[in-house]
Symmetry: C2
Subunit: 215 residues, 2 copies
DNA sequence: GTCTATAGCTGGATAGAC
DNA sequence: GTCTATCCAGCTATAGAC
């Protein structure tokens, strides 16, 4: 365990909450384990946050805000879908180490049956989703995809896929699994279609109209 | 709670294990809650399965095999990516009710820090992944996508996305969220690209070669 | 195979000293 | 604000009656 010793108790509790979820999973989190990890006593959680749920909610949002900010510059520099895929790949690699997405996945699992945790976790995830949406919006402005796909929902779907991939890969002993690779190959294909030019674009638009009419 | 009363104790425990995960999440599962749900006593779990982990592992595989079999005929009848999307949509709706994917998501979260659970859960998920892969293989045989994408990994990625979507949507109070819609819109676009015909296909192949060379 | 009983532990939450 | 002490509910795992 990491046993933080700097900052105020309230801050150390936040950090310890995240660390404990990462190290032991949502099922291994208790007021006692978190407090031990923070070098504080168990009662301090109830004093500062009222409940363990509330601490986790609070900590998730604070930690995620930090991680999102750390990636913002890199995302802002991305100029194409293929570059975005590269950023996604390295973000995935970092997350396997630092584990913010993994922590959010654990909390999402807990959030299915816990209102307080649900609110904090969805708020935290929304920080990622907003960032993804802003990037997609910028990259796809004026393109075929912007016309044909609901962007806010796509950002949500992409984020969901990331969460799922972290969970699946985290459950395997094997080293690197190619799960993300396949999705990045798909994204690469999307980039290629975007690059096709106006003639092919028009052909695709016609096809979409036709297949939409068939419904 | 559902309190099953038919079948052998061992079977009732398996069913109760799934029901308890669905109703209370992985963090709410204990030998006591499961046994109560099965109408049996807590010690029977250790007699029949040795541990709670082992029961969950066993139950996940049995339940998933049943759900996958229930969907096999429908998947086998699918003849296009757009039809597959329709099946995925109704599968998603059913899963929100019956909850096998949701249960697997909970178990995946637990599996991150539990070897026994990890083995059972990945084996169960593999049943879905294999089914998805077989369907994709059939639909994409001879197509552009078969050449350009790693199909086993794609099947894994698609399954991961499903898990992530169940988790995200399950954490919101709101009724229907459009998360899956965006991914199905993407899939529809893929169908359109597949339908484009040999000329556009050749153009895409050229583009892919070019962008691959650039790496 | 199924039950009760139990030992020994971990858990949430509060009270109250400092 | 931080600590100790405490209550009691819930937990795992085993022993042993039937």
């Amino acid at each position: 365990m990491s046993a933080a010793t700097e900052g105020t108790t309230k801050d150390r509790l936040r950090e310890a909450a995240i660390a404990t979820v990462r190290e032991r999973g949502i099922a291994g989190v208790s007021a006692r384990t978190v407090a031990a990890n923070a070098g504080a006593n168990q009662a301090s959680i109830y004093y500062h946050f009222g409940s363990l749920d509330a601490l986790l909610s609070d900590a998730a949002q604070a930690a995620t805000a930090g991680r999102v900010a750390a990636h913002r510059d890199r995302l802002a520099a991305v100029a194409s879908v293929s570059e975005l895929v590269e950023v996604a790949r390295s973000l995935h690699a970092e997350e396997r180490e630092l584990g913010n997405v993994t922590v959010l996945a654990q909390m999402l699992a807990g959030a299915q049956h816990d209102r307080v945790l649900a609110e904090g976790t969805t708020a935290a995830l929304q920080l990622w989703i907003d960032e993804v949406e802003a990037t997609l919006q910028r990259l796809l402005a004026g393109s075929l995809l912007e016309e044909l796909v609901d962007l806010p929902a796509l950002a949500r779907g992409v984020s969901a896929a990331f969460v799922g991939v972290e969970l699946l890969d985290g459950a395997e002993d094997d080293g690197e699994l190619p799960t993300l690779d396949a999705l990045t190959q798909l994204a690469g294909l999307v980039q290629v279609v975007l690059d096709l030019g106006p003639v092919a674009g028009a052909a695709i638009r016609r096809h979409v109209k036709r297949s939409t009419r068939d419904r």
